[in-house]
């Protein structure tokens, strides 16, 4: 039977997947900035939009990173529950504010700190729930 505990190896894989996932968002956002013909309102503009976006180098860099994320994510899912892996992967919401403070010297609002605290608490709860389950499964 599978062991579903969140080990250090799994945690490192989750961090790697999170960092690459952030890079994916960055590349994809960059690729949409290429489109300057205004709002996408109908199917015809959407096709033009997709054509412009798919000819951007950023989109392809993003897709390449997606492949790397896919491989790492598959390794993670081979060991732990989907309902554990997905919530734990949300700690990019913690990493991004921390990086913003340390490297970009940004001011973080009180509400955002509360949000970060909630996410941390949530990740801890979900991780512990996975441990409990392993013990139950003998």
């Amino acid at each position: 039977m599978f062991k579903k505990k969140v080990t250090l190896k799994i945690l490192l894989l989750l961090i790697a997947s999170d960092i690459l996932e952030t890079a994916v968002h960055f590349f994809f956002k960059k690729s949409t900035l290429v489109f300057s013909q205004g709002q996408v309102t109908d199917l015809a503009t959407m096709l033009v939009f997709l054509k412009v976006v798919f000819s951007s180098a950023f989109l392809w860099a993003g897709l390449l990173t997606v492949v790397a994320v896919f491989i790492i994510w598959s390794m993670i899912l081979s060991k732990i529950d989907l309902s554990v892996a997905v919530p734990i992967a949300s700690f990019s919401y913690i990493l991004v504010p921390l990086v913003s403070i340390i490297f970009l010297h940004e001011q973080i609002t009180a509400l955002r700190w509360i949000g970060v605290f909630f996410v941390i608490l949530g990740v801890i709860f979900v991780s512990l729930s996975s441990k409990e389950r392993t013990e139950q499964a003998k």
Binding site: S74, L82, G115, V116, V119, I124, F125
Partner: protein
């Protein structure tokens, strides 16, 4: 303006739903393989090769592609903060799908943790 907001919310729900379906197919394909995480590159490639030869993985990838296209449209229409905060509904879809489709045992702590993450993300994204 109000109608635009509803459309964006609908598109975000659509992209979340498609991604959840993709994750379900992926998880089911992986579970059928019995792989253990390793740093051995050859074993990883063998695993990925076995994985991509599962037809259900490709069904999932089609949904993933739809999800990506819709997400690109969302990014072009909506403010990034708003898009991310609304995308936190993804965690609820994943929890429900894991519980009812994959029959994973959620437990009180996991539901509570998932709920806290959703609230936390809304706070982080909107502030």
């Amino acid at each position: 303006m109000k109608q635009g907001l509803l459309l964006v919310l609908f598109l975000i729900a659509l992209t979340s739903l498609c991604d959840t379906i993709n994750q379900l197919f992926l998880k089911s394909a992986i579970d059928s393989l019995n792989f253990t995480p390793t740093l051995n590159i050859i074993k990883i490639f063998k695993f990925i090769f076995q994985l991509v030869s599962k037809p259900r993985l490709w069904v999932g990838l089609v949904f993933s592609l739809i999800s990506l296209c819709v997400w690109l449209v969302v990014l072009s229409k909506a403010d990034l903060n708003f898009a991310f905060s609304a995308d936190s509904m993804h965690y609820i879809f994943i929890a429900l799908a894991s519980r009812f489709v994959l029959k994973e045992k959620m437990g009180t702590w996991r539901w509570l943790g998932t709920g806290l993450i959703v609230v936390g993300i809304v706070f982080v994204s909107l502030s």
